[in-house]
Amino acid sequence: MTDRIEKRIELKAPVSRVWRALTDYREFGQWFRVKLDGPFKAGQVSRGHITYPGYEHLKWEAVVQKIEPERLFSFTWHPYAIDPKKDYSKETPTLVEFRLEKTAGGTLLLLTESGFDKIPSDRRAEAFRMNDGGWTEQMKNIESHVAKTS
């Protein structure tokens, strides 16, 4: 049983390009779908709000841990803390780490998120509601599409 998530992805772009996409707050925001208030600074809180369609009312908050140029970028956060009325600050956050390695074809990105053993289980249920809401919406779209075309 593991309490971490690990991903490896090969990117056909130089390390410097990937580094910029990860650590420039505007570029990060574009692919992560979050609008950040300002640049990432090690040891400081990063704030903004989600731009993912349907979740625009949600705030983004993370604490930047390490910025080691073209090697390591990390932050702690509360994954999918989706209830705007709830205070998540008492919970132990998870740690997200992006590590970069130069390869023949570009860049190898290693992502780890660890510390899930500290998350209360009622939070898990919340994340599910979010996920479930997404699917319910999709099913409605399919339904109305089918209804129109039949």
Binding site: L11, E27, R124, F128
Partner: protein, 115 residues
């Protein structure tokens, strides 16, 4: 409400930490593996073929019980122990969900840097 359902409702309010801790032990993992096979087991059945004493097995079962992974049911004068997969499935589902979110985010990053 059945015994099992009430217990899992209680387990839902617990934090995940005890589940990870409960499974982070060779003896308890072996007990869980055994309990997965056939349900329910008595302490004697669980002690049989093990190097551990009845007391030691009981202690490990208590840890598993407090994590909500194992429940005891009474049959006559005996207490029987059975496995409840729900807390573990709950964690697995949650990790799968977060993992899926990362897959989507990383594939957006891929098209973003490769374009």
């Amino acid at each position: 409400m059945s015994q099992k359902r009430r217990s899992s409702a209680v387990a839902k309010r617990q934090v995940q930490a005890p589940i990870f801790a409960a499974l982070g032990d060779q003896t308890r993992l072996a007990l869980v593996a055994k309990l997965c096979r056939r349900q329910p087991y008595s302490i004697s059945q669980l002690t049989h073929g093990s190097k551990l004493t009845r007391q030691a097995i009981t202690k490990h079962l208590r840890v598993l019980q407090s994590a909500g992974i194992v429940h005891s049911v009474r049959r006559g004068r005996e207490s029987l122990f059975e496995f409840d997969p729900q807390p573990i499935e709950g964690i697995k589902e949650y990790l799968d969900f977060v993992s899926g979110q990362w897959d989507q985010a990383l594939s957006r990053l891929k098209s973003f840097v490769e374009e």
